[in-house]
Symmetry: C2
Subunit: 234 residues, 2 copies
């Protein structure tokens, strides 16, 4: 019994350590997203540059999470729910790494947009979208730590609002482009920025779905709710 | 010795079975990409619809790969290189699932583009881009099965050509948009299509990097070669 107890707590201790890494990664990604959006709005080149360079730390954390999870599996031989948890941690790390890439891309485009005539209201709208998505990411990770399927389901539903914000932006940028061809290049970059932020929202949803799978044993049924109308209606 | 032999071959047999699933998934994704591009070019609605619906089979295969890998880890307790291989299989499945999503998105946009005035030469250029990327994906998976780090490195380098093709398309679509605002909506969809295909190329590179990691023990040093100039220069 003592041995079993010992093995169990060693696994739990290791798991807590990788979970702490995941939360650190999540914090970095949220900050990168928020900083990149702020850099776009205030045209702060130094901040954009900082986000660009900071992505390496996120990538390095993903590699550490992967290595640590592999070590944990080999050393502790988890099965059933414990193994599922470790594999979920690896999936979350991948989702966060991709999200970090999107924040880095936003920072790059913020620098390019600084050299173009500004589109009225665009940077503010992008910042609001980024804030919403940052909250989704935060809640998805909190849902993971608390194994809270209810909060995870809430994230899934709120991603619909993000999709709607994106659709509204898509139409607005299109209007600016049609009104004046000189807006086209800037609007193209803004489009990609909006789409990339919307994709971070999809990654938050992926994390939320993993939490639901982890706690209930089944993935949410059917397709995830999806409201990107730009490929449906327009 | 006999027992060890038995355990080893049981692992190998299981591994072969998930590798077969990965190759099947890869085949479906390559076909989806190629069919979606063909549907765009020939305005074949039925084919586009088939790609759209076919994505569910790719998603289901990813879930099977994940379940099978988890079973394999729990049952066989692989360590070191064997464990790394199983975890790599799961990463490849994720990359293929995302690639399938991009092909599905292409198919959806092909349907939308059918209702807009065509952009001369665009569909052909998209098809060529899709073919190049399909080959990258195929070679990345072949490199995985053969554990061929040389072929994997070749995939990494050839992704640069894909990036260059994408950059050329980006500029071309921009010109069409500036020339005539009536082209804007169609060119926006074509832009997203091109970007999504370029992203499938990135996933092929991710698979190639996993193969290099698997065979050499280290990830390729530094950033992957990257030549998306649309956020750098323009």
């Amino acid at each position: 019994m003592i041995t079993e107890q010992h093995i169990l707590s060693a696994f739990d201790r290791d798991l807590e350590s990788v979970q702490a890494m995941i939360m650190k990664m999540g914090g970095l990604v949220e900050a990168a997203l928020s900083d990149a959006a702020a850099a776009l709005e205030t045209q702060d080149e130094a901040l954009a540059e900082q986000v660009r360079k900071g992505d390496a730390a996120i990538d390095a954390l993903e590699e550490s999470v992967n290595a640590e999870c592999a070590r944990l599996i080999a050393l502790r031989g988890p099965i059933a729910g414990d193994l599922r948890t470790v594999l979920t941690v690896m999936k979350i790390a991948t989702a966060l790494e991709r999200s970090g890439d999107y924040a880095k891309n936003l920072a790059k485009r913020a620098l390019v947009l600084g050299q173009l005539a500004p589109i009225p209201g665009a940077a503010g709208a992008i910042r609001r979208l980024a804030r919403q998505v940052g909250l989704l990411l935060k809640d998805a990770l909190d849902a993971f730590i608390a194994r809270d399927a209810g909060l995870a389901e809430d994230v899934r539903q709120r991603d619909l609002e993000v999709d709607q914000m994106y659709n509204a932006l898509f139409r607005e940028f299109l209007t600016f482009m049609m009104e004046d061809p000189r807006n086209i290049t800037a609007c193209m970059h803004l489009h990609f920025i909006a789409k990339n932020i919307e994709r971070v929202g999809d990654h938050a949803t992926t994390i939320a779905e993993q939490v639901i799978y982890l706690t209930t044993g089944t993935l949410p049924g059917g397709d995830r709710p999806k409201a990107d109308l730009t490929v449906e209606g327009q």
